[in-house]
C-alpha cells in the first residue's frame, strides 16, 4: 500500500518549479498546450501521465478513458449501455444535437455505468462524460444512475461515482430537474442499506448534479483544480457585482470550506479509492 498523500514528498512543481521540468520532444510529435504552464506538452507524455501535465495540471478525460484508467483491465461490465430518453419537450434542435454528439463521441449518453474492480476491489461505477453535452443530466442519465444504485443496493455493493456536469439538461426541462430527486431517492435507499458511496468530483461539477448526488457521498474526493459549485461563476459575478476571490469554487476552495474530504491527484486515485473500498468491505445490513 502506498503512503498517504500527506506523507509523500512534495510534487514536482513545488520541488523544482515549472521551468526546471525537462520536456523532451520530438519535432514531429503532436502536442497540446497546457493552460496552466503554457508549455507545449507532447501527447505521448501527457498520456503516460494519465492526461496530467508535469506542472500538475489535470486535463479532462472522456468517460471511456477514465473507466480504463480507474478500473482493472477487462473488469468493467457496462450496464444499460443503450438506454436513451425521448425529446420530451420537442425542444428545438435537441434531437439533432444528440445525434451529432453521439457520432462525435461514439457514446450513447453522458454517463457510463457498470460493475468493475479497482485494484481488485469490486464496485458499481458511474463515470460522467464532459464531452457529451458537458455531462448534462436528462432522463437517461438520471435513469442510468438510479438503476445503478438500485443494482448496487440489491447486490450489496459499494458505488463509486465520477462526476462532471454542467447540470441538468435544459433541453429536457422539468423532467431533467426531477432527475435530481430521483437519483437522491435511489442513493438514499442504498445508504439506508448500510452501503458505501464514494464520489470523485472532476472538472467541472456544477448546477443540478452538484446540488444532488455529487454532494451526497459518504466520502467526497476531488481532482486538483476542478471547478465545483452550484451557480456559474459568471452568474455570481453579475449578481454580486464584485470580483470573485482567488481560487473561488476550485476543489481546494471546497476542501478549505469543509465540503470535500480530500483533493487527490490523479496518480493516487486508484490507490485511494481502492483503499476506501477495502475499508468498507462487508458493508450492508
Amino acid at each position: 500500500m502506498q503512503l498517504p498523500q500527506f506523507l509523500k514528498p512534495k510534487n514536482e512543481l513545488e520541488a523544482g518549479g515549472r521551468q526546471s521540468v525537462p520536456v523532451h520532444r520530438d519535432e514531429n510529435e503532436m502536442t497540446k498546450q497546457c493552460p496552466n504552464c503554457r508549455r507545449q506538452v507532447p501527447l505521448s507524455l501527457l498520456w503516460s501521465r494519465h492526461n496530467t501535465c508535469t506542472c500538475g495540471y489535470h486535463f479532462r478525460m472522456n468517460a471511456r478513458q477514465r473507466v480504463n484508467f480507474l478500473t482493472d483491465e477487462g473488469s468493467f461490465q457496462e450496464l444499460d449501455h443503450d438506454l436513451v430518453g425521448e425529446d420530451v419537450l420537442g425542444f428545438p434542435g435537441y434531437p439533432a444535437k444528440l445525434e451529432t454528439t453521439r457520432s462525435a463521441t461514439g457514446e450513447v449518453e453522458a454517463v457510463l455505468c457498470g460493475t468493475a474492480r479497482i485494484n481488485g476491489e469490486p464496485c458499481c461505477l458511474f463515470v460522467m462524460d464532459p464531452y457529451f453535452m458537458m455531462g448534462s443530466m436528462g432522463w437517461a442519465v438520471g435513469e442510468k444512475i438510479t438503476r445503478l444504485f438500485e443494482y448496487a443496493t440489491e447486490h450489496g455493493m459499494s458505488v463509486v461515482g465520477c462526476t462532471v456536469s454542467g447540470g441538468a439538461r435544459m433541453q429536457e426541462g422539468l423532467v431533467s430537474l426531477m432527475q435530481m430527486a430521483k437519483t437522491s431517492a435511489a442513493l438514499r435507499r442504498h445508504s439506508d442499506a448500510g452501503l458505501f458511496y464514494l464520489v470523485l468530483l472532476t472538472d467541472p461539477t456544477t448546477g443540478g448534479v452538484m446540488a444532488s448526488f455529487a454532494m451526497d457521498g459518504d466520502v467526497i474526493l476531488a481532482e486538483p483544480g476542478a471547478t465545483i459549485g452550484f451557480a456559474g461563476a459568471r452568474v455570481i459575478e453579475q449578481t454580486v457585482r464584485k470580483k470573485l476571490p482567488q481560487g473561488f469554487q476550485k476543489a481546494e476552495f471546497l476542501l478549505e470550506h469543509g465540503f470535500v474530504d480530500a483533493v487527490v491527484d490523479r496518480s493516487e486515485q486508484r490507490e485511494t479509492i481502492s483503499l476506501l473500498l477495502n475499508l468498507h468491505r462487508g458493508g450492508g445490513v
Partner: protein
C-alpha cells in the same frame, strides 16, 4: 385564465401583487409559531417556518417568502434562499418527522441565491441534503408552488407526496432568460424560450410533475384560502391511510416514474 401564453404566466408568477408565502401561512393556518435558525450558521429570512394547526391538526409549515414592500423584499433577499434557509427547512422537517407531524411547503423563488457566501457555505450541498432527506422523510409532505418554481432552489422544498401548482405558477429547470441566452445568445428571446421549456402548471400536469392545478379566479380572497385549506386537509387525510413504509415507497415511485418513456 386559460388563454395566457407561457411567458404571460411567467410574468404573472413574478408579479409583486401576488400573495406571498406568509399570506398563505396566515390565512390557512391557526396558532402559527414561527421558529428561526438553522442551528449552524444563521437565520434566513427568505424561508419562513414553524408549527401551526390545519383544521385543528398540528403541522409543520415552511414557506419561501418574497416580501411585499420594497424594504421587506430586500430583507428577504427577494425570496432567494441561502444555504442556511434550506438547512432551517431541513431542521424543521426532521423535527416534524420526530413528532409525526405532516409538512406543508409553499414554494415561490426565482432560485437559490447565487452569491459568494452562498457558495462558501455550500448552497449545492444544502439542496442535495434536502433532496435526500425529503425522499425518505417518514411523515407526509405536501408542496404547493404558489409563484415561481426556480430549479433546484424550488425542488429543495418540493420532494413531496403531492405537488400542486397554482394556475399561474411556473416550474422550470432554468429561467426563460437564462435559457434564451444559452440557446440564442439573446436574453430578449425569453418569451420564445418560455414556451419551449414547458414550464406552466398545465405542462407540469401533463408530465406528471404536479397532481393538481389550483385555479386562481379568486386568488387572495378568503374563499380561495378556505378552499385550499380544505384541499390540504383532505390530502393529508388520504395519506393517513398509508403506513410510513407505504408512504415513503409511494413517494419513491412518484419520482421514479416521471419522464418514463
Amino acid at each position: 385564465m386559460a388563454g395566457k401564453t407561457s411567458y404571460e404566466r411567467v410574468k404573472a408568477a413574478r408579479s409583486a401583487d401576488r400573495p406571498t408565502g406568509f399570506d398563505y401561512v396566515n390565512y390557512i393556518f391557526s396558532d402559527f409559531v414561527e421558529l428561526h435558525g438553522d442551528r449552524r450558521f444563521g437565520d434566513d429570512a427568505a424561508i419562513v417556518g414553524g408549527i401551526a394547526r390545519l383544521s385543528g391538526r398540528p403541522v409543520t409549515v415552511i414557506a419561501i417568502e418574497k416580501g411585499h414592500t420594497t424594504r421587506d423584499r430586500m430583507a428577504r433577499n427577494f425570496g432567494m434562499p441561502h444555504p442556511e434557509g434550506y438547512r432551517k427547512a431541513l431542521r424543521l422537517m426532521q423535527q416534524a418527522e420526530k413528532f409525526h407531524r405532516p409538512v406543508i411547503c409553499f414554494v415561490d423563488t426565482a432560485g437559490a441565491y447565487c452569491g459568494i457566501g452562498a457558495e462558501e457555505r455550500g448552497q449545492g450541498q444544502a439542496i442535495a441534503e434536502n433532496l435526500v432527506a425529503m425522499s425518505g422523510l417518514k411523515t407526509p409532505i405536501l408542496s404547493v408552488l404558489i409563484g415561481e418554481g426556480g430549479s433546484g432552489g424550488a425542488l429543495a422544498l418540493a420532494v413531496a407526496d403531492r405537488v400542486w401548482m397554482l394556475e399561474n405558477a411556473v416550474y422550470s429547470v432554468i429561467s426563460p432568460e437564462g435559457c434564451a441566452s444559452i440557446l440564442w445568445k439573446d436574453a430578449a428571446r425569453a418569451e420564445e424560450a418560455a414556451s419551449c421549456l414547458k414550464l406552466t402548471a398545465h405542462d407540469a400536469l401533463e408530465m406528471g410533475i404536479t397532481e393538481e392545478v389550483i385555479p386562481e379566479d379568486q386568488l387572495g380572497t378568503p374563499a380561495f384560502y378556505d378552499d385550499l385549506a380544505y384541499k390540504l386537509t383532505q390530502a393529508l387525510a388520504s395519506l393517513d391511510d398509508l403506513t410510513v413504509e407505504q408512504l415513503v415507497a409511494a413517494r419513491y415511485v412518484r419520482f421514479r416514474n416521471i419522464g418514463q418513456p
